[in-house]
């Protein structure tokens, strides 16, 4: 079953961060997942977490150049959520019986592992950035994440010129890379 053109458009929108498309997917699928989580001893907060995690997994998948979705968005999201929820239940030791539900599911095991691996990498980056301290953290975030230019950054942080800011950024970056790669290699 190939997703129809409407779904393809939505997925393209999702990959490009189009908030209208994201909102549509969100609205169309959230209640299904919420009901599922609530019916399986979860809370509203847990439902939100699980659903957003699944949206991120779909987003990551949609961004791949080799991307194809062989089922409906709904089915994919539900399958991911179910897998995530089972894992969460197991972690909490609340795993009782197989979660019931009549919704169609697809095999997402490969995608799921890929997603977990990425999450681990992001966690490493998160830790590395947060252990840098200020102003390093904000400076690097400004340059590499928000893509601000050096002149604007120098002005914002109060450096007398862009070269001094660049100098500082270099030192910070070296520390970050050291922190990141030390963990990243272990993680491999």
């Amino acid at each position: 079953m190939k997703g129809d053109t409407n779904e393809q458009t939505l997925l393209k929108g999702l990959a490009n961060n189009d908030s209208k498309a994201i909102e549509t997917i969100y609205k169309d699928n959230f209640n299904m997942v919420q009901n599922f989580i609530l019916n399986n001893s979860g809370s509203y907060d847990e439902a939100r977490d699980i659903f957003q995690e699944a949206m991120i997994a779909l987003y990551e998948k949609a961004q791949l150049s080799s991307f194809t979705l062989t089922c409906q968005i709904k089915t994919y999201i539900f399958s991911i959520c179910k897998r995530l929820w089972l894992k969460r239940l197991q972690q909490l030791g609340r795993y009782t019986s197989p979660v019931d539900g009549f919704e169609e599911t697809v095999s997402i095991e490969e995608d799921f592992e890929e997603h977990e691996k990425r999450n681990a990498e992001f966690a490493i980056m998160d830790r590395a950035l947060n252990s840098l301290g200020e102003p390093c953290k904000s400076l690097l975030e400004g340059y590499y994440l928000k893509k601000m230019d050096m002149i604007a950054l120098a002005a914002e942080f109060g450096y007398t010129n862009a070269d001094n800011a660049k100098n500082q950024k270099y030192k910070c970056l070296m520390r970050l890379k050291k922190l990141f790669f030390s963990q990243y290699n272990i993680g491999e």
Partner: protein
């Protein structure tokens, strides 16, 4: 300083910001110096990781915003009030006086209306139909009977009030909200008694005469909120022939009865209720009607006077309607959360009853 220039060059190279001549020069440099080549590869990998991290963070934030937006617009429902506590307190301080005045006016009106209700209203006017609420005499007699046996259990009915009517009710929220029939509550207050004979004071929170449903809230220090409610309340209609059972208090002890759903409408085609074939007696009013999975499908309310075993139950989806109205109209209440999880499916009837009976209450209404 050289290192800084080198890194700068690598970044410009990777971002494609170099001119052709410079780029060629740099390519040559990479070929001849393995160290630099290695640095380029490593930095490229790092930048890629940074980009992924950035987009991951962005999508996380935008999902968060979208969730809040949809919630505000009412497209999503999380079952509770979304505004923060601080706001409510500010609001309360600001409008304390107004609220007090409104509440006292409301109180006077409520008293007046309930007075009128006692004297004039009755949901059932057709002589062919009998409400299953108990009348004063029967309750009084049972009350005395109980008094002689269990002396240590003191009634919580105020001394200067007298019992007016009685019936059954059942929990719909772990905080102590009970659904019963409107016609059971012929008075200004109520006490409820659980299956073990323990009494609790309860407030009348809401009465809907048209649907013949009412909501009580247990307000008693002796009451400990239950952990879970084992049944759910069915939203959809049930089918003809469905096996049903009920629990109620036609006497001081809880009584079980079973039967089947015999028509999709109630007396004279009333679409708010079902016709059920079950033996029901005065006192069964307001009791739950379960299907065989233990989901509540209705609230037992009336029976036909000249026919044997023909009873009527208000359809359970009306509970959702009145709870919805109530949660919307009365913001002073903690929102009522109906149970969402059934623990009774596939169980034997005896086990089902054992689990359910603690949630079914004897309702006694009193007034002056």
């Amino acid at each position: 300083m050289d290192d800084i220039l080198l890194l700068d060059a690598i970044e410009r190279y990777l971002n494609g910001e170099m001119g052709t001549e410079e780029q060629e020069h740099f390519n040559q440099l990479r070929k001849n110096t393995p160290e630099i080549d290695q640095m380029v590869v490593e930095h490229n990998m790092f930048l890629h990781q940074m980009d992924l991290y950035a987009s991951h963070r962005n999508i996380k934030y935008s999902l968060h915003d979208i969730h809040a937006n949809l919630l505000n617009r009412g497209d999503l429902n999380e079952g509770g009030a979304i505004s923060s506590k601080g706001k409510i307190i500010q609001f309360w301080n600001k409008y304390k006086r107004v609220t007090a005045i409104a509440a006292s006016v409301g109180g006077v009106i409520a008293l007046f209306i309930s007075g009128l209700t006692v004297y004039f209203s009755s949901a059932v006017t057709d002589p062919k139909l009998e409400q299953l609420g108990k009348d004063l005499e029967a309750v009084k007699k049972n009350q005395q009977y109980q008094g002689t046996i269990i002396n240590e259990v003191k009634t919580k009915i105020p001394l200067n009030a007298r019992l007016l009517s009685g019936g059954s009710g059942f929990l719909i929220d772990t905080k102590g909200y009970i659904v019963t029939n409107a016609h059971v509550l012929k008075g200004t207050g109520a006490v409820v008694v659980n299956s073990k004979g323990q009494e609790f004071n309860a407030d009348i929170v809401h009465i809907d005469l048209q649907k013949d449903l009412a909501i009580l809230k247990i307000k008693d220090i002796d009451f400990t909120p239950v952990k879970t409610i084992p049944y759910t309340i069915q939203k959809s209609n049930s089918d003809l022939g469905e096996e049903i059972f009920t629990l109620g208090y036609p006497r001081n002890d809880i009584v079980y009865g079973m039967g089947y759903l015999s028509a999709k409408t109630g007396f004279n085609g009333d679409s708010l209720s079902y016709q059920i074939q079950i033996s029901a007696n005065p006192g069964n009013s307001g009791g739950p009607v379960f299907n065989k999975n233990g989901d509540i499908i209705g609230v037992l309310s009336t029976r036909q006077a000249q026919a044997d075993g023909v009873s009527f139950a208000v359809k359970s989806r009306n509970i959702y309607t009145i709870i919805g109205d109530l949660n919307k109209s009365d913001t002073s209440l903690q929102p009522i959360k109906l149970p969402t999880k059934s623990a009774l499916k596939g169980m034997e009837r005896k086990a089902q009853i054992h689990k359910v009976e603690d949630c079914v209450y004897y309702v006694k209404a009193y007034g002056r």
